[in-house]
């Protein structure tokens, strides 16, 4: 293409030389800066900093979580709160942000992992440099973090979704799952519990899970996955989408197609996003927890870890501000609260 023809001009060569020089200056400068920061960050008491690294920025659900996290960080007494993260949810995209936090000497890193292991080595480096690691929303491999703040008990989330769907399809028929990415930790855990429940609970004996598809938390992709499901499985009775992007995209497709009212949909959704679909009858009921509390508790857990009040072992308790006391359970997991079911009767009471 065009650019090949220009590479040999003199101007470009001069530009390249300038760019190279600028890059070297920047490298030297950043080298100095990170050296300095690491020194101060490790030692200073009562000057704690916290950084949130969500799965991806500019995701409406994440924004509610982070809003709670920032409130919590202020209430817990952190001097500096930052939110950094990738614009797309992919396995390796968070690593460079973790590395930057390690260099800046951040005291607490709160992370929602896109992949439980991909972030591991970077988190180990951060811990070696003195940072405390709080996983929230989506867990890392337990060996890479101090505690995991779970919105709810994973099994409860799975059970409420299958319960809602079973009720909506009358207890029998083919169902499918439309999830986020194929390696999302939290979704996969819920799916595992859903599968176990389907296999073990006699009430669900006549329900068969025929497909699991992944919309990558992308509106367009999820939309087309929903469309494909209905075409590939003509006798499909219901869809569970345990992700806010997936359930909204599927609801949009159903509400604009012939399948509206004949195929049931439930899962985890944001009330604000799902309101029109509940009102027009596409969706009867769906579930979620209060996402803001998740960030709030994560901030307090981070503070307790940084202060040395807790170490993340089972039985540790810490103060979570307005939400009272929280206890660290097995595997360093802290539970925030039970899931809520939203339907036409109560959806207008919520605004997030």
């Amino acid at each position: 293409m065009e650019f090949i023809r220009y590479t040999k001009t003199r101007r470009t060569r001069r530009l390249l030389a300038f760019a190279a020089a600028a890059a070297s200056v920047a490298l030297v400068a950043s080298g100095c800066a990170s050296g300095g920061d690491a020194g101060t960050g490790g030692g200073a008491e009562g000057d704690l900093s916290i950084t949130f690294i969500p799965k991806q920025l500019n995701n409406p659900y994440t924004d509610v979580v982070l809003g709670g996290g920032e409130d919590g960080a202020t209430a817990a007494g952190f001097a500096a709160t930052e939110v950094v993260g990738p614009l797309e949810a992919s396995a390796s995209s968070q690593v460079s942000f973790i590395n930057a936090e390690t260099q800046a000497g951040t005291s607490v890193i709160v992370i929602a992992a896109n992949d439980p292991d991909a972030v591991g080595p970077a988190l180990e480096e951060a811990r070696a440099a003195g940072a405390k690691i709080v996983a929230f929303d989506s867990d890392t491999n337990p060996k890479y973090r101090d505690v995991f703040i779970s919105q709810v008990i994973a099994k409860d989330v799975a059970l409420i979704q299958i319960e809602l769907l079973a009720e909506q399809i009358g207890g029998s028929g083919e169902i499918a799952i439309l999830s986020a990415t194929a390696n999302a930790t939290n979704q996969n855990e819920w799916i595992k519990f859903i599968e176990e429940e389907l296999a073990s609970n006699p009430e669900y004996a006549e329900i068969s899970l025929v497909a699991k598809v992944y919309g990558d938390d992308d509106d367009t992709k999820s939309f087309q996955e929903a469309q494909g499901l209905l075409q590939a499985y003509p006798s499909l009775k219901g869809i569970i989408s345990p992700t806010t992007v997936g359930i909204a995209a599927t609801a949009r497709y159903l509400s604009t197609s012939n399948y509206k009212g004949t195929v049931a949909l439930t899962g985890l959704g944001l009330p604000n996003e799902m309101r029109p679909f509940v009102k027009d009858g596409t969706v009867t009921a769906f579930a979620l927890w209060d996402p803001a509390q998740l960030g709030y508790v994560a901030a307090f857990a981070g503070k307790a870890l940084a202060d040395g009040t807790i170490t993340g072992t089972e039985g540790d308790t810490f103060d979570a501000g307005d939400l009272g006391e929280r206890e660290v359970g097995a595997d360093g997991i802290v539970i925030v609260g039970p899931p809520t079911t939203f339907n036409a009767d109560n959806i207008d009471d919520y605004d997030f």
Binding site: F3, D219, A232, R252
Partner: protein
């Protein structure tokens, strides 16, 4: 040259030109059309639901936005340029469409379309100006504006998203209602294809775009206003990306900071598969539109017969390679023919 050899040579040139035209047709739009027909037939035999009323409607709707974008991209590629920023333009226009409906409830839908296309035109002409005035290759310029426009969208939207419920029902209905089996927005796309196809095939500025793509230096020497024409191609592409952005907001549920990310490669792939030569100078917008229809249909077809996602991408890759090989063979043949005729004329 002698007198007695020249008349046969002339007649041979005309027949050769006619043959060449037929060959070009055979080599460019026909394979992709045949592939499309074969694909639809085979999938239909495997899963009759594929061509149910809802199935056909979904196929057309899926292709609509990609078709409009591919047609615009084809105009740019024909001039031996490329526009990588269209995904970002679509995103920013889609978000501004959502914003318009929320900020001015009751705003006429036509006005929203015009505003979206105007914003697209602005962003497209920025690309065009940078490419033509700064004389920097479009690959680099539009790679830059891809990030700049996306950055602006991120800064503007933040975590805000607008949902289908925020927009009037009549606007969403454009991508639900059908006229004679065709969704309204698909009809818009078909009109776009026809207009641009006529422009490219039979108007002076349209032909100039091909001349520029074949040989920019020669085009300049010939007196074609290269700067103005290339600018026009980028501007038109921007307008079409803007139109696609408005339609995106009509069809999909949410518009926000990441809307349209990564779309550019699908679009370039559609144009290339449709026979638009990546080095410019040849290919038609109808080919690009069929390419777009083929690629979106493959995705639906493979899903309908339950083939793994991985294979879908691999197949798209194979199609691109096939298109390039066909293009290469066509070029070698034309060059050989030209050499032979030149040699005979000496």
């Amino acid at each position: 040259m002698t007198l007695d050899t020249s008349p046969p040579a002339t007649s041979e040139t005309t027949t050769r030109r006619a043959n060449g035209f037929a060959a070009v047709l055979r080599l460019r739009e026909i394979p992709v059309t045949l592939a499309l027909i074969a694909l639809v037939t085979l999938t239909y035999m495997a899963n009759p639901l594929f061509l149910s009323q809802q199935g056909v409607k979904d196929l057309l709707l899926n292709a609509t936005i990609v078709i409009i974008l591919s047609v615009g991209q084809a105009m740019v590629i024909v001039t031996r340029n490329v526009d990588l920023s269209i995904g970002s333009i679509l995103g920013i226009v889609a978000f501004s469409t959502g914003t318009l409906f929320v900020t001015f409830p009751g705003i006429p839908i036509v006005l929203v379309f015009l505003a979206g296309m105007a914003l697209g035109a602005l962003l497209g002409s920025i690309n065009g100006c940078l490419v033509t005035v700064a004389k920097v290759p479009s690959l680099v310029i539009t790679l830059g504006t891809l990030y700049i426009y996306r950055g602006l969208n991120n800064a503007w939207a933040g975590g805000t998203q607008y949902f289908a419920g925020d927009r009037p029902d009549s606007f969403g209905a454009l991508s639900v209602d059908t006229i004679a089996g065709f969704p309204v927005i698909t009809l818009i796309a078909i009109v776009v294809v026809i207009i641009v196809a006529i422009f490219m095939a039979s108007t002076r500025p349209g032909r100039d775009l091909y001349a520029i793509g074949s040989d920019p230096e020669a085009a300049k020497l010939f007196g074609i206003p290269v700067t103005r024409r290339v600018l026009l191609a980028f501007l038109s592409n921007g307008v079409l990306a803007g139109l696609a952005g408005v339609l995106y907001a009509s069809r999909f549920n949410s518009v926000g900071a990441t809307t349209g990310t990564g779309l550019e490669f699908d679009i370039i792939a559609a144009a290339v598969v449709g026979g638009v030569a990546i080095f410019g100078g040849s290919g038609t917008v109808i080919g690009a539109a069929i390419g777009a229809l083929l690629l979106t249909t493959i995705t639906s077809a493979l899903t309908a017969i339950r083939v793994d996602k991985f294979w879908q991408q691999a197949i798209v890759g194979l199609l691109i390679l096939a298109a390039i090989v066909i293009d290469r063979i066509a070029r070698i043949r034309t060059a050989k023919k030209l050499r032979l005729s030149e040699a005979r004329d000496v």
